[in-house]
């Protein structure tokens, strides 16, 4: 009998998605007839932007051809127009359209860092950054932020003490997933100054840019002067236009050398998806109030979730200022066990709720064990019912 062929070490190091690992228990609950409120993933329930769906219906190609590696002109033109409406001027060669924000992050990391190089990143952070980092052999060096401060932006000292001769950049994500934190202008200037002082890039994931609440406005890394060579923006239509499955994002930077490198990575995979680009171009050209309506809806939902949590003893949660997540410390001993128990042992009037356990969002082992992420991707009425379940469930879990 022949020896069994081995896998690569890096393949063995890639974690399974911590957000998706409770899925089998949710499926089993549904089989038992229990309704599951899904607050566990960042899949908006809002309809995809109508202009995008109309464009798709009207797209009648004879051949679905390869497009340009950097993205089709219709989409890059629409992106330039959208960014111009925000006050940022871009040239076509400063944009590479990607297969979702995922590919954008991965191209940016690989263009900047070699195996063993480091990015500093505030934790908790978007889980999938870990996957991209392992895939590209890059180390993510976390700076822990806490629920008590609303996961506020790290201080200059906190960042500085993590900088080594392998540090190549700082990754930020404001408005943030999973925290809902929005960094102030001072925060962005502090990060930018550190990047300039230590010759680092700043990769700024701005996919939730428009979703900010109570008059707060997200500050882009593009707003900070002197960052032309260092700022790399990650963007995506997934959340903004509720088109996660279209898989369209982009990398943008004024650093010409960097964008040339990103383009060569893009050429290696030929082109981004043609059909998603049709949706995206129409979305970016749209002049309706779709985004503003989405923003207001998320703000109403944030209020529902936050107000309900405030009533609870032992909850630590500052009011989220953006995105559509609430990360809250809740009074249970072990959230992994709690989130699973809610699916396997709990129901209230035939329903339960699925949330994402905190540890999956931390790189530092042992952290996040008292936090859950609530994605408010259901309408207010359903959210109220889901919060009834969650709050009752916490009590029931502690009395079990």
């Amino acid at each position: 009998m022949s020896i069994r062929p081995k896998l690569s070490r890096r393949a063995q190091a890639i974690p399974a998605s911590p957000i998706r690992k409770l899925v089998p228990y949710a499926l089993a609950a549904k089989k038992r007839g229990v309704h599951v409120y899904h607050l566990n993933i960042g899949q908006p329930d809002l309809p995809t932007i109508p202009a995008g769906l109309t464009a798709l219906r009207e797209f009648k190609p004879e051949v679905i051809k390869y497009g340009l590696s950097q993205g089709d002109h219709a989409l890059t033109d629409a992106l330039i127009k959208y960014y111009s409406s925000l006050g940022y001027k871009f040239e076509p060669e400063q944009i590479v359209v990607t297969t979702g924000g995922s590919e954008a992050i991965s191209f940016a990391m690989m263009a900047i860092a070699d195996e063993g190089d480091e990015f500093i990143i505030p934790e908790p952070f978007y889980t999938n950054y870990n996957g991209f980092a392992i895939t590209s052999g890059v180390r993510l060096v976390p700076i822990t932020t806490t629920p008590e401060t609303g996961y506020s932006c790290p201080s200059a000292e906190q960042v500085s003490e993590k900088i080594t001769d392998r540090t190549r950049g700082i990754i930020i994500n404001s408005p943030g997933n999973p925290t809902g934190a929005v960094y102030s202008r001072e925060d962005m200037e502090r990060i930018a100054a550190l990047a300039q002082e230590h010759n680092l890039y700043v990769i700024s994931d701005e996919v939730y840019r428009e979703f900010t609440f109570d008059g707060v406005r997200a500050v882009s890394i593009l707003d900070i002067e002197g960052m032309e060579e260092r700022a790399v923006v990650i963007d995506s239509i997934s959340k903004r236009y509720s088109a996660c499955g279209a898989r369209i994002g982009c990398v943008m930077s004024r650093n010409g050398n960097l964008m040339e490198a990103v383009l060569r990575y893009a050429q290696a995979r030929l082109c981004p998806p043609a059909l998603g680009q049709v949706v995206a171009a129409a979305a970016y050209n749209d002049e309706s109030d779709y985004i503003e309506e989405s923003r207001l809806e998320y703000q109403r939902r944030r209020d529902v979730v936050f107000n309900r949590l405030q009533g609870l003893d032992g909850v630590v949660c500052k009011k989220p200022k953006g995105a559509f997540y609430c990360l809250a410390k809740i009074p249970v001993d072990d959230v992994e066990s709690f989130c699973k128990w809610m699916l396997t042992d709990y129901q209230r009037e035939g329903s339960t709720v699925m949330t994402a356990p905190g540890p999956g969002f931390y790189a530092t082992p042992g952290l996040g064990g008292e936090e859950i992420r609530i994605a408010y991707v259901l309408g207010c009425e359903q959210l109220e019912a889901a919060m009834d379940c969650l709050i009752d469930g916490i009590k029931a879990y502690n009395n079990r």
Copy 2:
């Protein structure tokens, strides 16, 4: 003034696409009013499979959502049905749908090989394998095959002498791009035996499976016994159904550990494109004679190209048995210079022809300088006219 931030070494090592680098000269020729016959890229002109286009028109989602990381059930079911019709039984967990064959190759390489590990590959080979290899830090170790033999499959000795303790697999592509070569059952058995003897994987890129001529049938790595743990199949709808822009491919293997690793890579990028999957599922479920008609059309075109080349002194070209490429040694001193000259200095009755220079398909420096790849992606009448240009162009170039 601050220091300019550097790029990664790997970003600097990624080559620009050798196939696309003549594009500016083609654009300039068109600006001068010269018609360019494009035989330089593998973009079929045949209409996308009608069933796929119909399914796309009928797809009316409210939300374009994230799908499963391994691909949506409708598509994996259709893939299972298609493979079953070819005589191969697959289970859903043995398939991961990818963003084109490109991502499939890249997942397979990364699941098997760490940085510095090696794959043996007959050259000339599909240019973009190079990009994926550099991205993943893997070395491609070429075995040179030649036009004189029709780029026939390397011997056991040729493969064996390339095997080192870093070798993790052999990559094959039959029917082949750019060669048009189709490996026999004996060839596949020889490769499989070497893989078993040396504990290697075989990554078999079978995207051109159906496009074989003169009664030749492509042998799949799946036809070879004892390869369950070692065979990894790369597939794609791009060429089979003329849907390159849909960006849908897949990785398939009976090796459960390998597929688990591939799935974890797939989770890191969330999901493959939803809209392309709609096209792909309908394509794989289609029972029309679309593929057979495409095959016959490519065979007619192969005959046009091959017959015209045969008449030329100094041409070396065995009759291609599959895919839709002809790689031919032509009597010019330097094909890079020739292909460019055809765009910058030549025209015949207002037309010229663009082909892909051979060196881009070789990993060994200095090889391929007398070969061009002709992609027969135009109808027979246009191909005749393009071959008139090419043959006249070779004479004119040598008399210039």
